[in-house]
Amino acid sequence: MRRSVALALTLALSIAASAHEKDDRAAAKSLAISARPHLNVIAPAPGFALRDSGGALVRLSDLRGKVVVVAFIYTSCTTVCPILGQQMASLQKRVNDDPLLRGRVMLLSVTVDPARDDAAVLASYAAKLGADPATWKFLRDSPEALTPVLGAYHEWTRTMPDGDLDHPARVYLIDADGQIREIYSLAFFDPRQALIDIRSLAK
């Protein structure tokens, strides 16, 4: 009997807690997105010229006039990168579905692990995520070409004991004039907010 009462009590508390958490999540969902982002000029975006998975050179300076999103990733990452990949895919769809944005936005995923992420691996990864090369490119290059770019964006890498790579988890939003206007944490990246930010810069 005592056990039944304890069980019922535990269950009741658990249901109450879960209802409370549901409310919390609902509140979070409604507040997480800001319709009026304050996007300061943070710094000039360091320039780069890196190869895409097809071997073509992509220069940041050639993308003036477009809003550019730069994410630093590696394909064997098992923590936040797979979620970010899905979120970037979602962002690509939202951009391509918007006639005012299509052709005015470029998403770039730059690998921090060029040794393992060769052109074929990146191309396969891009295909799995449904990347449309007109909107979303995956970049890599020789370590000689890539290392200074990673350095300019403060993207250090450290090999962990399990062979995984540790690196700063950031996504950069660059305006049509080549200025960094927002830096997102991969862990909290939300494509809905990124789209609002992009629209704000594309006006």
Binding site: A27, A32, R36, V41, I42, A43, R170, A187, Q193
Partner: protein, 398 residues
């Protein structure tokens, strides 16, 4: 049935979101996932001489465990070393000077045992229009700093934003004297707590003008960098902490002037309420507030009583005093390790109000039952610091 339970458990784990950094740091900071090996302690000499970063061995396996290994001087004196903060990538430390309006940026990513001073920003009041920099707080690629007052050390302050490298981005004014900044990224909400102006906190306690004491916390829309609500409570709500669990809508502050623990909570309509949650005891004069990684306990240091209190917050609206530990006069700054098992403690507040010369760094063990025990052996005695007695304040671990 088993399969359903397993699926629910996996969903809950995923919904819990990313792992946090140490409980007292910005959630954007890369977390330390192993026992600490080194402590950086922002230190000011009691007598003449430059402020410095103490590098302390906290690796239990080391023969120099608990020893001050070196000090990295900042090249100027009278700064009033106070609070510090990591950048989001944990590569740099920003150390703020309460009195001289300077920032010192130390590189610690490349060689954690050997921090290097890489930049000093001298003219913060001129650049930002604000003074009395208190706590540097990381957001992606940038640092926010709560600044107590206007450029001349009086009047309301604000929040200043810089790149991680130290380039100024913008300032945002408030109507009070900001003390700390804490962010809940899931809600796009930031809370700033408050205290007094720079001119006041650099004066002896008997010269503090009661009219200068702030009693407000501000709720910000972080993306808009805009205050959306101001909440009034007891005077001087110093440290503020959000509950750590993803999507938690509540958190706490300590009122130094009211000897009380306050709770802020966001309601379903997005509006916040702010209420006294517990009395800390007359004369506590709380100095710092920290939390356990599982949201079960809050730790409050009592500057006035030389005591650390552990509050059980498993029922968040009804905090309950769970344990206390004595033995450290003027207990003030605390730092809880990533696993919640250890709590480091220092005992200098500000040179203008310190009432003891017995400066030290101590260690408290937090048991699985939430009981605390002061380590009788681990002591870094700052009365015997290199080049003379010094005041230890804020700490970071690596």
């Amino acid at each position: 049935m088993k399969r359903i339970l397993l699926a629910s458990a996996v969903a809950a784990a995923c919904a819990a979101g990313p792992l946090h950094s140490e409980t007292c740091l910005s959630p954007y900071i890369k977390g330390l996932r192993a026992p600490e090996k080194v402590m950086y302690l922002w230190t000011l000499p009691v007598g003449e001489g430059p402020d410095y970063l103490s590098v302390i061995d906290v690796n239990v396996a080391s023969p120099t465990y608990g020893k001050i290994l070196k000090k990295v001087e900042v090249g100027s004196k009278g700064n009033e070393a106070h609070h510090m903060g990591y950048t989001d990538d944990r590569a740099k430390i920003w150390a703020a000077s309460l009195n001289s309006n300077r920032f010192f940026i130390f590189e610690v990513g490349a060689d954690p045992m050997n921090p290097k001073l890489v930049r000093t920003i001298d003219d913060v009041a001129k650049v930002t229009g604000l003074s009395g920099p208190h706590t540097p707080y990381a957001i992606p690629g940038r640092i926010l700093v709560s600044m107590a007052s206007g450029p001349d050390g009086t009047g309301p302050g604000g929040v200043a934003e810089f790149t991680n490298d130290g380039d100024f981005i913008a300032s945002y004014k408030t109507n009070d004297h900001p003390y700390e900044t804490v962010i809940k990224p899931e809600f796009n909400r930031m809370i700033t707590s408050s205290w007094v102006s720079q001119k006041t906190f650099m004066s002896p306690l008997d010269k503090w003008d009661p009219k200068d004491l702030s009693n407000t916390i501000d709720v910000w829309d972080l993306k808009e960098r805009k205050i959306i609500q101001t909440l009034k409570g007891d005077p001087v709500p110093l440290a503020a902490r959000w509950a750590l669990k993803a999507n938690s809508t509540y958190g706490y502050t300590i009122s130094n002037g009211g000897d009380a623990l306050w709770q802020f909570r966001m309601n379903k309509d997005g509006k916040f309420t702010y209420r006294k949650a517990a009395e800390l005891g007359k004369g506590c004069a709380p100095g710092d507030l920290r939390q356990s990684p599982d949201d079960k306990y809050l730790y409050v240091s009592c500057l006035g009583r030389g005591e650390v209190q552990a509050w059980d917050i498993t029922t968040p609206d009804k905090p309950r005093l769970h344990d206390t530990v004595q033995g450290m006069v003027q207990a003030n700054m605390m730092h809880v390790t990533f696993d919640g098992q250890r709590l480091y403690l220092t005992n200098s507040a500000i040179s203008s109000i310190d009432y003891t010369p017995r400066y030290a760094l101590r260690l408290i063990y937090n048991g699985p039952d939430g009981r605390m025990k002061l380590d009788p052996i681990f002591t870094a005695d700052f009365t015997q610091a290199p080049n003379g007695p010094a005041r230890p304040h804020d700490m970071l671990l690596n």
